[in-house]
């Protein structure tokens, strides 16, 4: 029997509202707004109030998928990452680093965006890295 609230930042728009994820025994059970937060001041919009709703949706991807014979089939992480590494290395050798493009994401964390552009620039060797800031 464990109940606590995790203070986090809303995953929807760019306002930056804070919300509490209510956690009971390692399961999300709801959202509570954060009083005294400088941005959201104890309020949320309907999206924030439902921010936990999609996390455990049945459609969540649970394993890597690899296309085989035209179909996406489940694969291990090792298999999927090895395939990517091999393919990207081959394409880079064949057509140069600028034949590869990387999309960073406005939905991922700063740290993840930092890493993916570092990956694109240092490991692949291209500045073909962008995200949907314009969309």
């Amino acid at each position: 029997m464990e109940y606590h609230n995790v203070l986090t930042t809303c995953p929807y728009c760019g306002t930056g509202c804070a919300l509490h994820l209510q956690v009971l025994d390692h399961q999300l059970v709801g959202v509570l707004p954060a009083k005294n937060h400088p941005i959201s001041q104890g309020g949320l919009c309907i999206k924030g109030w439902n921010a936990h709703a999609f996390v455990n949706h049945k459609d969540r991807l649970q394993t890597p998928l690899v296309r085989k014979g035209g179909k996406l089939v489940t694969a291990t992480w090792d298999e999927a990452l090895a395939l990517i590494a091999e393919k990207l290395s081959a394409l880079k050798a064949e057509s140069g680093p600028d034949s590869i493009g990387v999309f960073a994401s406005a939905k991922c964390t700063n740290e993840e965006n930092y890493l993916i552009q570092k990956f694109a620039r240092a490991v692949i060797g291209t500045n073909n890295v962008d995200h949907c800031a314009r969309l």
């Binding site: 029997m1 464990e2 109940y3 606590h4 609230n5 203070l7 804070a18 509490h20 209510q22 009971l24 025994d25 059970v29 709801g30 959202v31 509570l32 707004p33 954060a34 009083k35 005294n36 937060h37 959201s40 001041q41 104890g42 309020g43 949320l44 919009c45 309907i46 924030g48 109030w49």
Partner: protein
């Protein structure tokens, strides 16, 4: 305030070994407060025990009791939260069995903030702080004094700001129906802003809070548009008291008046022909 905090911490420390957990408030990152279940064996967590701002803890109790119906729990509750627990008990949402109420009496400043008529607990046997008298609710009084046209204009102005976040309903410990009328397109227009006039959303919610609202004012606090929602509820609470002699949270054994039968004298007081 800090004196009360020390006293509360000591009280919980004493109760903790006798129960499976104590529901209270804890200060988290950046000083932001949230409900928390303090557990025996971890008294050090009480270092971050908090008093204010208050949170809808009766709902926390419901969440935990639903998963652990037999747990021995204690809950730190203010006057409004105690009333909340009592009303939820009457509607079979929480159990009072195996539950210790730790009453936390509000101070003047808090009562004024909530415009609270009853900033004290009445059922809790363990209490912290000394009870103070209720304070008037100038907002509700000012509203009640308005003319019909002014009332209409007042809510037209207020409700056009509603962003339909459902926060007032979501945060309300007394809103626990599995199927909510406010989500039914028969009654409330879905997918639309601003809400059209008259705002069925808000009138229906006020109707459903009849004899349920415990005046905790959580709805007003979470409303991003700052709508003084409690005005409706408090005026209706006054009517319910006059017509049906019912006050939320006051008497544990008294059934809420929405139940079918009219009691002696109810009808005469209802103002109907």
């Amino acid at each position: 305030m800090s004196e009360r905090l020390t006293a509360l911490r000591e009280t919980i420390r004493q109760i903790l070994p006798q129960v499976d957990g104590v529901i209270g408030l804890k200060t988290g990152p950046a000083g932001i407060v949230a409900p928390y279940l303090f557990k025996p064996g971890h008294p050090e967590m009480l270092d971050s025990l908090a008093l204010w701002p208050k949170e809808p803890v009766p709902d926390t109790l419901k969440i935990i009791q639903k998963a652990y119906p037999n747990a021995r729990l204690a809950i730190v509750c203010r006057g409004c939260e105690e009333r909340g627990v009592v009303e939820m008990f009457k509607h079979a949402q929480v159990s009072l069995e195996n539950l210790t109420l730790i009453g936390l009496q509000c101070v003047q400043e808090e009562a004024l903030f909530c415009r609270c008529a009853k900033p004290y607990t009445v059922h809790a046997r363990v209490t912290v702080g000394s009870p103070i008298a209720g304070v008037p609710d100038p907002l509700t009084e000012a509203f009640a004094a308005k003319s019909q046209a002014e009332k209409l204009a007042f809510w037209k102005e207020q409700f056009q700001h509603c962003i339909k976040c459902y926060g007032c309903r979501n945060i309300c410990p007394q809103c626990f129906c599995n199927v909510c009328a406010l989500e039914d397109e028969k009654w409330v227009e879905t997918g639309r802003l601003p809400l059209p006039n008259p705002s069925l959303y808000h009138i229906i919610r006020a109707m459903h809070m009849t004899a349920k609202c415990v005046a905790c004012r959580e709805c007003e606090e979470t409303c991003p548009a700052g709508i003084p929602l409690a005005i409706h509820f408090r005026l209706v609470a006054r009517d319910v008291k006059e017509m049906f002699h019912y006050e939320t949270g006051a008497v544990i054994e008294q059934k809420p008046p929405q139940l079918l039968t009219l009691e002696e004298g109810d009808y005469e007081r209802s103002g109907l022909p």
